[in-house]
Amino acid sequence: MIEVKNLFKSYESDFVLNDVSARFEKGKCNLIIGRSGSGKTVLLKSIVGLIEVDEGEIWYDHQKFSHLDTPSRQQIRKEMGVLFQGAALFDSLTVEDNVLFPLDMFTSQTRNDKLDRANFCLERVKVTGSNGLYPAELSGGMKKRVAIARAIALNPRYLLCDEPNSGLDPETGIVIDNLIKELTEEFQMTTIVNSHDMNSVLEIGDKVIFIYKGCKCWEGSRTEILKTDNVALNNFVFATNMAKQIKRS
């Protein structure tokens, strides 16, 4: 479980996060949604510690991450898998070496054991026969899958994904979403997915948090989101004229 309490973050005089509190549950896909610039990436980066918040607490199970020193944070980070918006695969390494990377860094397994684990992760995300390719030779969807394989290589307790299906066609996006959901349930991870894609929300959103102008504006499930009276959320969910007509009818 990951919990954030009363997070504040401002740049100069503008609040990017304004008293955000939320609890992200284990074994579920917790989605943070909101318009571009609403503060959801800042929230996710604050949760992983890439951005320091001005005030507030971040808890990973029973550990107060926001108040830990760097070495203690690094210990928790070894239990995190993070999927970045652009996949963030290491350009100079092949697909196999990218997945082997965390295993080389943090385990003392034999080379064969590490290779077995890397191949298991790649098979799990349905990437086979591409071990020797470099990231530049992969499609967007493949990059995301390899990044997921790398993220789960160390059996993380927490999986954090920043817009996992951005830049992908809707069909591939849903494949990636479903993969994240399957892995979350299979390995009982606490998963947080940052998204502005309504397909993702409706497909995998066990719990949804709507961020609007830096504030948590709404919280609920994917079924509740379609029935809410929240104006800002309705404007976000039913953004097109056609969707607005469907909502009215």
């Binding site: 980070r77 350009d91 860094m105």
Partner: protein
């Protein structure tokens, strides 16, 4: 204020870079990779430039020592000392600042803007140590070899100017490059090269590591890395020459 802020950030980054590496085996592997990238790949440019500069210094020195009272072998002495004292350390360092420095800054800059450095950090890896330390070690180990190579190739370039160009009798040149030789000059050149290696790799890494923005900023940081490294090399040259060449 901005300069002080940069100096402070630079030393903080170096503090992180020189902290305990995650795994010594990984550091060794990375250092070997960097030796290839930073060192071995610089062989051709060092050889070509040193060869031509050695030949040109020989021709120019011979042209300037036309006095019949001055022995011809002084050309060899001048070429050798020019290479040892200045060219093969400082000039080669300036060339490497352009080649290696821009490469380091742009590579780290691209890693920064494509979130690869963030990916290292969230894995619990000290990205500064992982990315910067092997580059500094590789340069410190390999730049002195490039300096020695430059000295040898430069002297050979001078010899070729004598034999193929007929500038002066090769025997006088060979006598000259052996005449009144101070081995300390080699130590002096190598000491300077080690300092230059640290300046080039650390300054370039600093500019690349701290890129913010997009591709334009990566280009700017690469240019800044080369300019600042070059200025610091010239400043270090002055200080080191004043302090250790006594």
């Amino acid at each position: 204020m901005k300069l002080l802020s940069h100096i402070g950030s630079y030393f903080l980054l170096m503090g992180r870079a020189f902290s305990q590496p995650e795994k010594h085996s990984i550091l060794y592997r990375q250092t070997m990779r960097e030796i290839e990238k930073v060192g071995i790949n610089s062989f051709p440019i060092v050889v070509v430039i040193s060869l031509f500069v050695g030949a040109v210094i020989t021709i120019q020195t011979n042209f300037n020592i036309e006095n019949p009272l001055l022995p011809k072998y002084l050309v060899g002495v001048t070429v050798r000392d020019s290479l040892l004292l200045e060219f093969s350390s400082t000039m080669v360092a300036l060339i490497l600042a352009g080649k290696v420095g821009s490469s380091i800054a742009s590579e780290l800059g691209m890693m920064r803007i494509t979130e690869q450095i963030d990916a290292l950090e969230v894995m619990g890896i000290n990205s500064a140590s992982y990315l910067i330390l092997p580059r500094i070690i590789a340069a410190v180990l390999f730049f002195p070899i490039l300096c020695l190579l430059s000295i040898m190739v430069g002297l050979f370039g001078g010899y070729l100017a004598c034999t193929l160009g007929g500038v002066m009798p090769p025997s006088d040149y060979v006598y000259g490059i052996q005449y009144a030789f101070y081995p300390y000059y080699i130590s002096y050149a190598l000491t300077k090269t080690v300092f230059y290696a640290i300046i080039i790799t650390s300054v370039s890494s600093y500019f690349g590591y701290n890129v913010k923005g997009g591709a334009v900023e990566v280009g700017r940081s690469s240019t800044r890395a080369v300019v600042q490294s070059s200025i610091l090399i010239l400043l270090a040259n002055l200080i080191l020459t004043r302090t250790i060449l006594t």
